[in-house]
Symmetry: C2
Subunit: 222 residues, 2 copies
């Protein structure tokens, strides 16, 4: 890239940063805890989120979700089965979500009725790391089938996360998942980051994840 | 993005296209069949390529590989076990490979001694679709654990591929892989594209893949 291109790219990032800070203030004022879910395609974000929404709805929390994809509204339909309000953001080829897309898709929702807002980012372990969406917590998901080396190979995404969730634990034996190595690699890239292990299919670890979420929200004074 | 940003982005793509055409002519003149492997992170590109290189070396072909990652030289080390010459391209945060990176990493290699050059792209199901690397064949990999909906959700990548390879077939039962649905979704996005099913772990489908490769090279008159 030329320096002129880099300048313009930096300008776009700065603009996103300002919009994200506006969103963050709106969320805090309304008492909404924002969660940005990032991962490779196929890590199981949608299944994980569907179960999370159902459990939170059942526990009486006000929840909503925005879900980003290059194409299709499939994920919004799947997530809506939880009973929570869900909107699809179709990026039309763009490789990540930006703060402006979040802001425009919140229109008409009364944030004051929500306790949690989940944002499922486009499946991409590179580009979304640069874009703050005003979230309180960024969660990177890593499935047991992807290979334990992914944190080392995609450091910006793992390094920018506030929590790492290992998914598809039900496939750990079949995939010969090396738990110690995965944990060590995550910690090497993002020292001290909490790690949870889950299977949205069997429910394993999902209660711990919900407890963690509710506790983080409380710690923010929301 | 502003129209000025779009113009500059288009300019970069045009420049890549020219460099890719130069590479394509160089490969054809030298009798090298170029293969660009693209997929999500964790689809098993490196394991698939390691086995491919070993089998081609054993069969007496001249092969080499370039492998792209944001960070680490781990993959080049793994692939070098095949006996083929391998070079790592560290993109330092960039989400895809570009033709210029290929050209600069070929320096010192005698292309005339090669029958095949493999390029393992950065794991990313979005951005690499825009960047021609001068390859004769683009292969998109999809693992049985990723979900059969991925072609519908990432159409540009699947649509730009000349071959789709389903990987990790050994995990198909554990992952409850729906073969018919995966095939239908690939064909919906890229009608007529050939599909191969493989497991680099058990070797299933690898001979068919090699036969396909050798045949495609012959069809090009190389």
């Amino acid at each position: 890239m030329t320096s002129r291109t880099l300048d313009i790219h930096q300008g776009l990032l700065d603009k996103n940063e300002r919009l994200a800070q506006d969103l963050r203030r709106r969320f805090e004022t309304a008492g909404v805890y924002g969660v940005n879910l990032v991962s490779s395609p196929g890590t199981g974000k949608t299944t994980f989120l569907e179960r999370t929404l159902s459990m939170l709805v059942e526990a009486g929390f006000g929840v909503a979700a925005l879900v980003g994809d290059l194409a299709t509204e499939n994920d919004a339909r799947r997530l809506a089965r939880s009973g929570a309000p869900v909107r699809q953001i179709v990026t039309a080829g763009m490789c990540h979500l930006e703060a402006q897309m979040i802001a425009s898709h919140l229109e008409g929702w009364d944030l004051a009725t929500l306790d949690f807002l989940f944002i499922e980012n486009v499946g991409n372990l590179v580009c979304p790391s640069n874009y703050d969406l005003g979230e309180a917590m960024r969660v990177v998901l890593l499935s047991v089938t992807e290979g334990e080396d992914k944190p080392l190979k995609y450091p910006p995404m793992f390094n920018s996360a506030n929590l790492a969730v290992i998914t598809k634990l039900d496939l750990a034996v079949a995939a010969e998942f090396n738990r110690a190595e995965a944990h060590a690699n995550i910690q090497a890239v993002c020292p001290g980051v909490p790690i949870l292990e889950t299977s949205a299919k069997t429910g394993q670890g999902m209660k711990e994840w919900l407890d963690f979420l509710v506790n983080q929200r409380k710690n923010q004074g929301l």
